[in-house]
């Protein structure tokens, strides 16, 4: 059902505005209306103006935004740690938090800067390690006082090695050695060993030929090769330990202070949201106005809370909902627990407008009924019942799945009921085995025409109910002509049905003439209320009723599939194979039996039934709330 809403105006002195907003946010039952057209009389509108923040509130907003930005900056430095819950109320200690934050931000920034430096150094050391690591096995065999020098070069491609050899041979007269190795990252590295006297000359020529020489940090440049390697290793270990120590410090800091700063940040978010809401409010010279909506059931709580907190300083006034407000009124659905799972179907379509009908109670009653009428097999119903109970237990925590399981539960109960009435248990064979020789009401396979009449009767009742709801909706929305159109449609359909029945002599034939006269009498009203397309609308309604024939048609198809499953199983002549085949066929039929009736029962509601009364386009009720 659509909850009845009340139009509310809250008035109070400007200095209490934020406190009132804070209370409304905590109560979570009031939606602020930005459009004041329906709230303030036209002649008073120039006295009311949008509320602008005063200097003090503006300063608070800037302060809060700045504090929030600095907390975000602090969090950017900290690792993501599991945080405890903080129960601090930051409102009273905001200034202290601000001072502490300045110190902590400086400390964390310094840690982050140091860590960044160490990471850069580690990356450089990593590059040197690749080179030295590749050459280490060759260099360590040469004595330090051998009078030799080493030049490390990076060789772009293997083909350049021969050219390098020729150049070195020319420069050193063949007194050199070139070792090439592939580093871990795939680079080809060359180590030229030569006499110290020749090293400078060779370096110069290699530079001219664009053969890049490996360079080392200044502190490594003067060290002999083996010492370089040792130094690199020691430094790498030191840097890694340094980074780990800083990470540990930051993690410890996050564990100690993270929860407090997270709590302050969330408080700031709420405070800023509250200050942001003032943009939708209005004021005069002395007081503020908050206009909005609240469900009628919650009005006593709202007024009570405001009276308790502010005494007579803040007033709550209920205003009359005018005809032009109807499309503005927000909509919230409140159904009894038994019907609530069926809101799942209502959510697939846009919300109905205020003063129309919530289709949930109708779909809650009719959907399982139609589902049962279509599937109508006690055996299948039993399987679905067990499945629904299992799903309901497994998906207790997931709302949508739990609702779907409950819908399946209701539907399966009706399936069992209609299965007994039709005399079907896994088709006719199962029913025969259980002693259900014939259906209590009808055997679907034999009674095709009676079942068709039954389906059409259900359709007639459903469509007439839809038209009646449409008539009431039109009266509520004060659209008289539409109400008249719905009423004329109801009368015309009833006349047509009785006319057909009288022609078939189910009701006295004498009624034919008066009914025809009534129909002729209704035609001008039909055109007056519905325009030139009114007869088409009436024909559409008749088509909608015929569409309910699917209840019988799909049901018959399901029954015949079950019959095929049993026949196939019987034809094997082997008990085990037969049972296996029957299980497979019936399983497929159950899957179809869930899917097909669901789609068709939904379609009968969405297309045939809803179109008669539903006015979509309702505004969702979104009260002021935290977060």
């Amino acid at each position: 059902m659509i909850a009845r809403m009340v139009k509310i105006e809250i008035v109070g002195p400007s200095e209490l505005l934020l406190e009132v907003l804070s209370l409304l946010r905590d109560l979570e039952l009031f939606q602020i209306e930005q459009d004041i057209t329906g709230f303030v009389a036209a002649e008073d509108r120039d006295k009311v103006r949008p509320l602008l923040l005063d200097e003090k509130t503006m300063a608070e907003r800037i302060y809060c935004e700045d504090l929030r930005a600095r907390i975000d900056e602090l969090f950017a430095c900290l690792p993501r740690e599991e945080m405890r819950q903080s129960y601090l109320d930051p409102g009273d200690v905001l200034e202290s938090v601000n001072e502490t934050l300045q110190r902590h931000s400086a400390l964390c920034r310094e840690w982050c800067r140091k860590r960044e430096e160490l990471r850069t150094e580690l990356a450089e050391l990593g590059g040197d390690s690749v080179f030295l690591g590749a050459l280490e096995p060759h260099v360590t065999t040469i004595a330090p006082d051998s009078g030799l020098d080493f030049i490390g070069v990076t060789i772009r491609e293997p083909a350049a090695v021969a050219e390098l050899m020729r150049t070195l041979a020319r420069l050193t007269g063949g007194r050199f050695q070139l070792l090439t190795v592939k580093a871990e990252d795939g680079t080809l590295i060359g180590l030229i060993t030569l006499e110290k006297d020749l090293a400078a000359k060779v370096r110069g020529i290699l530079g001219e030929q664009h053969v890049p020489e490996m360079t080392f940090p200044p502190e490594l440049a003067r060290m002999p090769f083996p010492e370089k390697i040792r130094h690199l290793r020691t430094r790498t270990a030191e840097v890694t330990a340094g980074i780990a120590a800083i990470d540990e410090e930051l993690a410890r800091f996050a564990r100690r202070w993270g929860a407090i700063y997270a709590r302050v940040r969330s408080w700031l978010d709420e405070r800023l949201a509250l200050l942001g809401n003032t943009a939708h409010l209005h004021r005069t010279g002395m007081c503020f106005f908050i206009h909005g909506w609240t469900p009628a059931a919650d009005v006593p709580r709202l007024t009570g809370e405001i009276r308790t907190k502010f005494g007579g300083a803040v007033l709550v006034e209920e205003k009359q909902i005018l005809e032009q407000d109807l499309d503005l009124v927000p909509v919230t659905l409140r159904n009894p627990p038994l019907f609530r799972p069926f809101e799942l179907f209502a959510r697939l379509l846009p919300l109905p407008r205020y003063a129309s009908f919530d289709p949930t109670p109708f779909i809650a009653v009719c959907f399982p009924l139609f589902f049962g009428m279509i599937l109508g097999d006690a055996g299948y119903g039993l399987v679905l019942l067990i499945l629904a109970l299992i799903l309901g237990r497994v998906f207790r925590q997931r709302e949508t799945a739990r609702d779907a399981a409950r819908i399946l539960l209701f539907s399966s109960c009706y399936t069992i009921l209609f299965g007994i009435l039709y005399g079907e248990f896994f088709g006719e064979v199962g029913a025969g085995l259980l002693g259900m020789k014939e259906g209590f009401i009808v055997e679907r396979r034999q009674a095709i025409v009676p079942m068709l009449c039954f389906a059409l009767s259900v359709g007639l009742a459903h469509i007439l109910l839809g038209l009646l709801l449409g008539f009431i909706t039109a009266l509520r929305r004060k659209t008289g002509r539409e109400a008249m159109f719905k009423l004329v449609n109801i009368l015309a359909i009833l006349c047509l049905v009785v006319l057909v029945l009288s022609r078939m002599e189910i009701v006295p034939r004498l009624l034919t003439r008066p009914l025809a006269l009534i129909l002729i009498f209704l035609i001008p009203f039909l055109f007056f209320s519905g325009g030139v397309l009114a007869p088409l609308e009436l024909l559409k309604s008749i088509g909608n009723i015929v569409s309910y024939a699917r209840i019988m048609a799909i049901g018959l198809a399901s029954l015949l599939l079950a019959r095929v499953a049993n026949r196939f199983a019987g034809m094997t002549g082997n008990v085990v194979t037969g049972v296996l085949l029957a299980v497979i066929f019936h399983a497929v039929n159950i899957v179809l039996g869930v899917f097909s009736p669901t789609i068709h029962a939904l379609r009968l509601h969405y297309v045939e039934f809803y179109s008669k009364f539903m006015v979509p386009g309702g505004r969702k009720f979104e009260p002021l709330r935290k977060g």
Partner: protein
Amino acid sequence: MEKVYLALAAALAVGLSALATAWAQSKIGSAGAGTLAEKPELSGTVIILVAIPETMVILGFVVAITILTM
């Protein structure tokens, strides 16, 4: 011979309307799938649109039953 004609007429009533429904649903279904890729919140509307042509085959079925039982 009359029975053969009646059966043929009933088969045509269901068969042709089923073909027409299938053709209409294929067009609406592909357009609906495209719509849902961009706006999943329109699933209810798409279900309605896909289901609308089904009335044709149901009407065909009713006509077939009427032919066979009259």
